[in-house]
Symmetry: C2
Subunit: 224 residues, 2 copies
DNA sequence: CGTCCCCTTGAGTTATTTCAACACTCGTGG
DNA sequence: CCACGAGTGTTGAAATAACTCAAGGGGACG
C-alpha cells in the first residue's frame, strides 16, 4: 500500500494510507480518490474553507453543521457509510463537518469531480441528483423543525436511523444526545426524557444509550 | 400573440397567452417556454404530480410548501420574480406550490431542460448550481427553525425580504401572516406580536400589514 | 477503585401557543 | 355616501410544551 502526504485544507496535513482507489458515488459513477482516517470529533472541513474535495463516508459517521456566533449549533445532517457530503458547486464550504466516531473518509478532488461531470453527461446528472436528493431530505427536515413536537421529532429521527443504520440487535446511534438535540432543534434533556417516555409507552427499548430497539412503529406517533 | 391550450398537470388545463418565449434561468442560460397567469391562492403544482415542467416567477410571488396529514403546513420557500422553482431530478414533485398573489409564471418543459443539460455542459453546471443554491439557503433556514427564537426568526425574515424585494417606500410583503408563520415555524399571533414589539423598539415601522420599513438593522437582533 | 464524561431525572421557569375577542380594510350593494 | 360582511390582523389572558438549572446515576477506562 502506498503512502503519501496531502494538503487537505488550510491547516491540516495528513498521511494518506490508501491511494489510487476509486469510490462509488452513485450507480455507475466511480471517482478516483483516496481515503483518510479521522478521529472522533476531528474536523473534516470547516465553514469558509476552500472546497477542494468532495467526501464520502467509508466507515464510521460524520455530522454536518453550522454554528452561530454565540455558539448555538444546528446539525444539518448525519452522514453514514456510503453518503456523499461536502459537495459544493461554489468555491467554499458553507458548513463544517466533523467525524462523530473514528471514521474512514474517502476524499475525491473537486477537479476530478468536475472533470467527470464535463466528460460525461450521465455523470453530471448523477451528481446533480445527489444534490437534489439532499434538498429533498432537507425539506422533510424543515417540516420536522418547524411543525413537529418533541415526541414526533424523536420518533421521526428513530425511524430515519432505523432505516439508514439497521443492525442485528437494534438500531445503532453513533452520535451523542447532544448531536441528536442539535439535529432535532431540542435540548439534550428533552431528547433524553422523550426517549424514556417512548420506552415507558413500550414503543422502544433502550438497550444502551447508543442502541435502541424499535417495537411499535405506530406508537412512535409520527405524522406524515 | 398566439394562444394555445396546454395540459399542465393531472387536472388543470389552461389557455396560454404567451408562447414561444425564452426565459433566462441563469447567467447565459435561456430556455424556451411559455408563461401563464395564476390567480391568488391557485395551485401551480401539487405534491405527487408528475414534474413535467420547471417554473420561474415572472411577476407576482409563489409559495412552496409541504403539508402533514393533519393539516400542519411548512412553507419551504417564497419564490419572487426571477426565482426558479419546482425543478426535480426525479419524476414527481415532492412539494406543492401556489401563487401568493395574482402572478405570471413561466413554464419550461422538463424535456427542454434535460435537452439543454445534455447538449451543453455549462448549462448542466448552471442548473446544478441552482439546486445547490437552494440547498445552501435551506441550511440557513434550518438554523432559523431549529435554533432561533421568535424575535430572531421574524428579524431574519424581514432582512431576507428587504434584500430580495426592495421597494421605494418600504419592504413589500406579498404574503399573509399565516404564510409568514408557516415559513418561520411560528403561529400568526406570535408573528404579529413580534412585529408590534419590533415597532415599539423603533427597529421598524409598519406602514400597513403588507408594507414594513426597516429602520435599525442591528436592533432586529439577528445573530450570525 | 476512582474519575471523567455522558446520560438521566427532578423542579421551577419561560417562551410560545391556544383560545377568545376585538379592530381594521376593502369591496359590495343599498 | 354609508352600512354591511368577510377576510385578515392585532391584542389579551390562560395554558402548556420545552427549556434551564441542578443534582444524581452509570458505564468506560486507566
Amino acid at each position: 500500500m502506498q503512502s503519501m502526504r496531502v494538503q487537505t485544507g488550510a491547516t491540516q496535513q495528513a498521511i494518506v494510507t490508501t491511494a489510487g482507489k476509486a469510490f462509488c458515488f452513485a450507480e455507475g459513477l466511480e471517482l478516483p480518490g483516496f481515503s483518510m482516517r479521522f478521529d472522533r470529533d476531528e474536523e473534516i472541513f470547516g465553514e469558509g474553507e476552500s472546497a477542494d474535495f468532495v467526501y464520502m463516508v467509508v466507515s464510521g459517521a460524520a455530522r454536518g453543521f453550522r454554528i452561530l456566533s454565540d455558539g448555538r449549533r444546528q446539525i444539518t445532517g448525519f452522514h453514514l457509510p456510503g453518503d456523499v457530503f461536502g459537495m459544493e458547486t461554489r468555491g467554499d464550504h458553507r458548513s463544517s463537518a466533523e467525524a462523530i466516531v473514528d471514521s474512514e473518509i474517502a476524499l475525491v478532488r473537486r477537479s476530478a469531480v468536475d472533470r467527470a461531470a464535463d466528460a460525461d453527461g450521465a455523470a453530471a446528472r448523477q451528481l446533480w441528483a445527489l444534490t437534489a436528493g439532499d434538498l429533498d431530505r432537507l425539506r422533510d427536515h424543515m417540516m420536522l423543525l418547524g411543525r413537529k413536537c418533541a415526541a414526533e421529532r424523536v420518533g421521526s429521527f428513530l425511524l430515519e436511523m432505523a432505516r439508514r443504520a439497521p443492525a442485528e440487535h437494534g438500531t445503532q446511534l453513533p452520535m451523542s444526545r447532544s448531536d441528536i438535540a442539535d439535529y432535532l432543534g431540542l435540548t439534550i434533556e428533552t431528547v433524553s426524557r422523550t426517549l424514556t417516555q417512548l420506552e415507558r409507552d413500550r414503543a422502544i427499548s433502550i438497550r444502551s444509550a447508543r442502541c435502541i430497539v424499535l417495537h411499535d412503529r405506530t406508537a412512535l406517533g409520527v405524522a406524515d
